[in-house]
């Protein structure tokens, strides 16, 4: 069960929509920790036992790709599944981010169905124990 989920996006509208999709997709009991950029997200992730990170790609200060790199190169954080959501994503971007350790890459607009599909894969792989 997902208890703490970080949602990082510089758009409050996008964070609201992502949270709503996560709730509909089965995370209605999760505690959502919001961040407006990658730096804020990383600080939250370091201070909390986080089960899932859902982050935008293009953000000020630290973007989603840099955040992913920090997560994947930290022994303490490397197992935290990270989903990247972006308006500027296509097959080329997706392949690059998956190579760098993203659990999944989704194009905006996200839907409850697209999130649910990724969450079911997470459950199958027992990423959060």
């Amino acid at each position: 069960m997902l208890e703490k989920v970080v949602v990082a996006d510089d758009s409050a509208t996008a964070r609201m929509i992502i949270k709503r999709c996560l709730e509909i997709a089965g995370c209605s009991d999760a505690d959502f920790l919001e961040a407006g950029d990658g730096e804020e997200a990383l600080s939250i992730i370091r201070e909390n036992q986080v089960d899932l990170v859902v982050t935008d790609l293009n953000m000020p200060n630290m973007d989603g790709k840099a955040l992913l790199k920090h997560i994947k190169t930290s022994p303490k954080l490397t197992n935290v599944p990270t989903i990247i959501i972006s308006s500027a994503s296509n097959k080329a971007v997706e392949e690059d981010l998956l190579k760098q350790g993203a659990f999944a890459v989704l194009s905006k607009p996200v839907t409850p169905a697209s999130i649910a599909k990724i969450l079911s894969t997470l459950t199958d792989e027992d990423q959060w124990g």
């Binding site: 758009s11 509208t13 097959k91 194009s107």
Partner: protein, 159 residues
């Protein structure tokens, strides 16, 4: 407008997918947007640069009333100050998402693309480079206009 063009197909698909997913409202595509609703309404707008591999702009116009109803739809009621921030934010996010899906539908999927940062405003529509195509939509009683600007998009506007 060239309704059979790759440009129109990609733009229509991007708009419908974005608006319906973000607002949970059904979209009706009306025509080529030649009717000028903007002078009769208080309008708000977002303008988003498209940087790579094609260069141009996407411009989104909607009535202020519709923007407010979208905010209620997404956020619930908010106070006046946060309403203003939310208006700019929702306009920018819709423009950004439509632009992403539009370019994704236009260019080969193995080519990365780059979008700029959106700007938003209220009142007269922003000045832009040459307009290539426009789509007028309706959500319920509310009109919404989206146009693509820039010579790079001209070759895609053929059947």
């Amino acid at each position: 407008m060239n309704s059979g063009s790759k440009l129109q197909t990609a733009l229509s698909s991007a708009i419908v997918r974005t608006i319906e997913s973000m607002t949970f409202e059904e979209v009706e595509i009306l025509d080529d947007g030649s009717r000028d609703f903007t002078s009769a309404n208080e309008i708000v707008w977002a303008k988003l640069p498209i940087l790579k591999p094609l260069t141009g702009e996407l411009v989104l116009l909607m009535s202020h009333n519709y923007c407010r109803s979208l905010i209620n739809n997404v956020y619930g009621s908010t106070d006046n100050e946060s309403n203003l921030n939310a208006e700019n934010d929702i306009l920018a996010e819709i423009a950004n998402t439509i632009a992403g899906r539009f370019i994704d539908g236009l260019i080969p999927s193995d080519i990365e693309f780059l979008l700029g940062l959106p700007t938003t405003g209220k009142g007269n529509a922003p000045e832009s480079a040459k307009k290539i195509t426009t789509i007028l939509l309706r959500m319920g009683d509310h009109p919404l206009v989206i146009s693509i600007h820039g010579e790079d998009f001209k070759p895609f506007n053929k059947s």
